[in-house]
Amino acid sequence: MDFTYDDEQQALREAVRGLLASAYADHETRRRTAASADGFDRGLWGRLAEMGILGLPFSEDDGGVGAGPVEIGIVCQELGRVLAPEPYLAGVVHAGGLVAAVGSPEQKADLLGRLSAGEVVLAAADTSPGGRWSARADGVRASADGGSWTLDGVADPVVGGGAADVLVVTAALPGGDGAGTGVFLVDASAAAVTAYAAADLTRAASVRFDGSAATPLGEPARDLSASIATISDLTRIMGANQALGVMQSQVRATTDYLKSRKQFGVTLNTFQALTFRAADMYVELQLAHSMVDWATMTIAGGDPAVVADAADRVGLQVSRAGRHIGQEAIQLHGGIGMTAEYAVGVGTAHLEVLDQWLGNGPHHLRRLAERVDDHGLVEAL
């Protein structure tokens, strides 16, 4: 039972923090980068590849680094801290995670090696328009003709889809409702991709498949929904790490602002009603932090049911904390918190995008409520 980083983890954090600070210490750079054609900085992406960050989650056999969940969590926290728009969570953790989970050895070695090297950008297409966090595909259908497969339907939002070279698509297998869901690779050029910006300026896309040629990942025609669900849970936990980084920045920025901003001739920290609210933000942050660390540590155990439970728990906690902290950060900043020039309000937008993308509070609460009589006490250990 240990919540502290070892020396290597500390060093990783410093290295990533240093690299990202040099890129995004100034929020204006983040704003400009997010508004650019790709929506992220390909130079920075290359440096992340060089540092081994893109290959962190993948085994050395597949061209990755073979690091553990704690290390990936560290990277996500640091990305969140500066609101980096790079599609790490979407492209590496989620899409890469799907390939690693269900791909054949050859597919993994090929795709994950290139992903780790920064040579290919992936995106996961697993949500139908209006769909809600389901491992069962209902927006895209797969058809087989002999050994060749095609996909039809629409996926939206595909986070990071606009810049992706290869799409990792979940699709309903032929054979009706009971046939399950498969995972397919589709070259981005074989689909109609319409990119757009989310509220935090990060990018997603609407992707239409119209007889698009597809390659099954792993053994064809097998129902992979259990693996799909586990990778979603894993991504949820890493998204919570990213949200933690955002919240840490927001609490710090708010505290600094209360100390420096003057109104009525005194600094704002003279007003007890405001400092007490900052204290409540800190409390929420600490509780969320503990839950994020815990959920991240559960992954190493390798039990999908435990990870699913941890994803729901951290999802609910971070969703609540993010809304509280995100709203209070703007409110305590006043007008300036509403502006796109200032990181605090954009952080609030980013928290909501993470939440609605990966599973929001009511969703996780609903799942936890269903299981409430499965246990007596909730056990931390």
Binding site: G130, R132, A198, A199, Q263, G335, A340
Partner: protein, 383 residues
């Protein structure tokens, strides 16, 4: 105590309901009802249509286009307007500078400005806040110095809502640095096409361009464009802000937004937790609407009732809470915030995140909720 409207008031309400749904074009009302953005022209067209029917500025003095209505009738006018999706007459004109000029202006100012203000022939902007004086209005620094008959204005205003459309701006300036902070403030009316006035957009987190900075560099303002005496600005501003608070609680619009959500997200209404959240919000909104009616009944002397702070405080909280519910119901579809109209995601879901973010302002602008709590604890509770 009596629940029903009197026959006269019931008749009044029916007339309002009919007028609002016939006088203002359906397309404009649909834009409001669906939570889309209004263009400048739509706002102008709507207000002119209302003004033609005497519905734009009913709370003004009758001689300047007002109606001799009871407080309850004004409330019904406001609620029915929101329910029908009719854009509220531009607040800067109808609720702010209009009543100020009618009360403090010279006869010449009234004749020159009030009819054009009611009809939105002049689009007014508000120049109060400054970068270093948000809630602390008295700390403002923009200066106006006498030069012959004119005033010469220098300084910067910010958070000027819709200032990009402004023809004129009513602004608070410091005309005397020798006296106590509040006593050195005056209100000037400034033609925004004057040399030296510059409007710079501020982009907000919802991606919209709704507020602006307004810079004054040696702007010359003729002496007859001061409102009241030099040094009267603080008194006038307090009068204006008191008026602003009345009816600022968007109860009708929030009720409508919630009712619409029940239809657009009907499938999710199967979930008992969603139903409970809707039921809670409906109840809170009912309590707030009833409070507005009860406050109306107690404010017949024309002064804003201090409980109007209750309406502003809770009204904005509920407006924000409904936008949170909408966002949670939108779920992943809400990511398509800046997708264009041929997106496969539904419009309400695409607008959910920008609306949520935009409405964070509701508890900041127009007297932050902290200011409202202070008014309640000091003015009402005597703390």
């Amino acid at each position: 105590m009596q629940l029903e409207l009197s026959p006269a008031d019931a008749e009044f309400r029916n007339r309002m309901r009919e007028l609002f749904t016939t006088v203002v074009p359906q397309e404009i009302r649909d834009t409001v009802l669906e939570g889309r953005h209004l263009t400048r022209d739509q706002i102008v067209e709507s207000q002119r249509a209302l003004n033609a029917e005497g519905l734009a500025v009913p709370h003004w003095p009758v001689e300047w286009g007002g109606q001799d209505w009871t407080d309850l009738q004004r409330h019904l006018w406001h609620e029915e307007m929101q329910r029908a999706g009719v854009p509220t007459p531009l607040a800067f004109n109808a609720s702010m500078i209009g009543p100020v000029l009618a009360h403090f202006g010279t006869q010449e100012q009234k004749e020159r400005f009030l009819p054009a203000t009611a009809n939105l022939d002049i689009w007014w902007s508000q120049g109060f806040s400054e970068p270093d004086a948000g809630s602390d209005l008295a700390g403002l620094r923009t200066s106006a110095v006498r030069d012959g008959d004119d005033w010469v204005v220098n300084g910067q205003k910010t958070w000027t809502t819709l200032g990009q459309h402004g023809d004129w701006i009513f602004t608070l300036v410091r005309t005397d640095t020798e006296v106590k902070k509040q006593a050195g403030i005056s209100m000037l009316l400034v033609d925004m096409s004057s040399p030296g006035v510059e409007v710079r957009p501020i982009e907000l987190i919802d991606g919209g361009h709704e507020v602006n900075e307004v810079w004054f560099s040696d702007v010359r303002v003729p002496g007859d464009l001061i409102v009241g005496e030099p040094g009267a600005g603080w008194t006038i501003a307090k009068f204006l802000l008191g008026n602003e608070r009345v009816g600022v609680a968007p109860v009708g619009a929030t009720k409508r937004a919630l009712a619409t959500l029940k239809t657009t997200a009907a499938a999710q209404l199967e979930d008992p937790l969603v139903r409970a959240r809707v039921a809670e919000l409906e109840n809170e909104l009912l309590a707030l609407e009833l409070t507005a009616l009860r406050v109306v009944a107690h404010s017949s002397d024309g002064e804003p009732h201090p409980a109007s702070s209750v309406l502003k405080l809770r009204g904005t909280e509920l407006q924000q809470a409904v936008s949170e519910l909408a966002l949670d119901l939108a779920g992943p579809a809400s990511l398509a915030a800046r997708a264009d109209d041929d997106s496969p995601q539904e419009g309400w879901a695409r607008r959910a995140a920008p609306t949520y973010l935009n409405l964070r302002k509701a508890s900041i602008y127009g007297g932050s909720n902290e200011i409202q709590r202070q008014i309640i604890s000091r003015t009402i509770l005597g703390l």
